[in-house]
Amino acid sequence: MQPALERALAELVLGPPLARSDLAALASRHALAADDRDALAAEFERWLVYRKLVQATLRDAVELAIPRTLARLGALFDEYFARFLRERGPQTHYLRDVTSELLDFCAPLWARDARVPPWALDLARHEAVQIVVSSEREPAVKAPLGELDLERGLRFVGAARVVRYAFAVHRMSADEGDRTPPEAAPTELFVYRDEEHDVRYLELSPLAAALLERLLAGESLKAALLAACAVTGSDPGAALDGTARLLADLSERGAVLGAAPEASPSVPAATEAREARLRAAEDCSNMAGFGREKEPHERS
């Protein structure tokens, strides 16, 4: 009867609020043996202590990760948090990953809920990416970038990614009490962990974002540049200098480690070109003060 007991306990600690009078229905739902049901009923208040402990640990972990999202959504967040616990629940051994699981659960639901501000998921993802990147595995080993080879890809630090938002959430105030909504503006950021283990944010132009996404995916420099120019309507020839400057900057920052060992295939054709706008990467962190001690972690 262990599976029945586990299902019942899972619902007890993660499910909807429960009164003593609900226990019989819970036991029936999970085909709990009568003596186990009676044992749970005999110590019902103490099981509510477990419920409180479990939910407090999980909520604290999420609040550490996305405090501004929680502050701005208020009761609406509580509603979705309870729904997450009830319908999906954490499935990771790592407390630091619970927020990502929650946001994956909420993403489609928030998109359909008019009560949720359209920028909420962007803000939550932007807050959460701090822990995701700061804990991403793979040590950074710096190597000189050397000569750029168009036929080869690049090696990046393991903790690096391009994120895209529809709102300029990276410019929002770090003040949890601020309620100013973000500007609706397509936003692309390069987020990486530097050699000091600090997470850095660089604002990118659409072309730079498209280029870096492809390079991170393993495409050769030539293929990535042509494809990025194609999707952004940029002139590949005019983009070359900017590309070289961008990659040199990222190399200097330790985010690009050097050329990849082998050439990557596939060179998509360029479309009609416009002037390349490959803005130099620019530090844009609004996460100052979001120190390492803020990462949720297990306590024994």
Binding site: E6, L9, V49, T57, P90, S134, S300
Partner: protein, 293 residues
């Protein structure tokens, strides 16, 4: 079955917490026998914390104490988790690994909290078999900790201590005996912890834990690890050591963590109790005096 050989780490250790990690990392040597760490906070990841722990491991013995194995669940322990754990305990050179006699996941959810196991023969057998498999996977001795249980998970077929004896008949694993957990359970369930102590299979103990707890508004003691050790727990520690002989002892503090200097003073108090107990003095009175109570 024969117990696992005792590992070499000894003395009074301290649970390494991020609240004072940088002070340990960058400061002068601190007088602890070892640090105990929760591997989940350092494994399957990169970045600052694993790098910092590696540096600390060059200066102090480290012992791993896991939290999410869920050894008593119906489902086998997550093989990905166990594989990552094996890598981590090897990286840290932990002489043994321990986890809790608990249900930390079930029905596809991870609770991130130590829920009690049903004290049944089936559960004891299941846990024992899994401890054997875990020791094999980690290639080192393993131990399991008696937890605080505020309630029983279904109808208990066995007492906690009978459950432990049943379990240890089938495994070579050690017992990580948490003295504070015995005290908290005794208070919450209304039994004499000193009398109950005699029933525990302490011949299998490989490590002891001590910590503080908090009384909730309802009167229930909660194992918060958020307060100093109370004198009665020091007395229980002394009584335990009088039975076990020398064992590594760990001070845990997870909430309301005071400055490191305060924790180190508590480590010294624990050490005084250990020394007095092992010197064969009357445990209950000497423990109080040694702890400065």
């Amino acid at each position: 079955m024969d117990p696992a050989p005792r590992a070499t780490t000894s003395g009074v250790g301290l649970g390494l917490r991020w609240d004072f990690l940088e002070e340990v990392l960058d400061g002068p040597d601190v007088d602890v026998g070892f640090f105990e760490v929760s591997p989940e906070n350092y494994m399957r990841r990169g970045g600052y914390y694993p790098a910092a722990l590696e540096r600390i491991g060059r200066r102090y013995p480290l012992v791993t104490h896991g939290l999410t194995l869920s050894i008593g669940a119906e489902a086998e322990p997550d093989p990905h988790y166990v594989a990552e754990l094996a890598t981590e305990v090897e990286r840290l050179g932990s002489p043994w690994h321990s986890d809790h006699l608990a249900l930390t996941s079930g029905a596809g959810r991870v609770f991130h909290e130590l829920l009690p196991l049903k004290f049944s023969r089936d559960t004891a057998f299941r846990v024992a078999d899994r401890l054997e498999a875990l020791a094999e996977a980690l290639e080192r001795p393993v131990a399991i900790e008696n937890i605080t249980y505020y309630a029983h998970a279904g109808r208990a077929e066995l007492s906690e201590t009978d459950f432990l004896h049943t379990l240890f008949e089938r495994t070579r694993a050690g017992l990580l005996f948490d003295v504070n957990n015995l005290y908290v359970n005794a208070e919450n369930h209304g039994f004499d912890p000193f009398a109950r102590l005699a029933e525990f299979p302490l011949e299998r103990a490989v490590e002891l834990h001590v910590a503080g707890h908090t009384r909730s508004a309802s009167g229930l003691l909660i194992d918060t690890h958020g307060a100093p050790i109370v004198p009665a727990v020091f007395e229980l520690l002394a009584a335990t050591l009088a039975r076990t002989g020398p064992l590594p002892v760990l001070l845990e503090r997870d909430n309301a963590v005071p400055p490191l200097a305060v924790l180190l003073e508590e480590v010294r108090a624990v050490r005084r109790v250990v020394e007095h107990a092992l010197a064969g003095r009357t445990p209950r009175t000497e423990a109080r005096r040694a702890a400065g109570a």
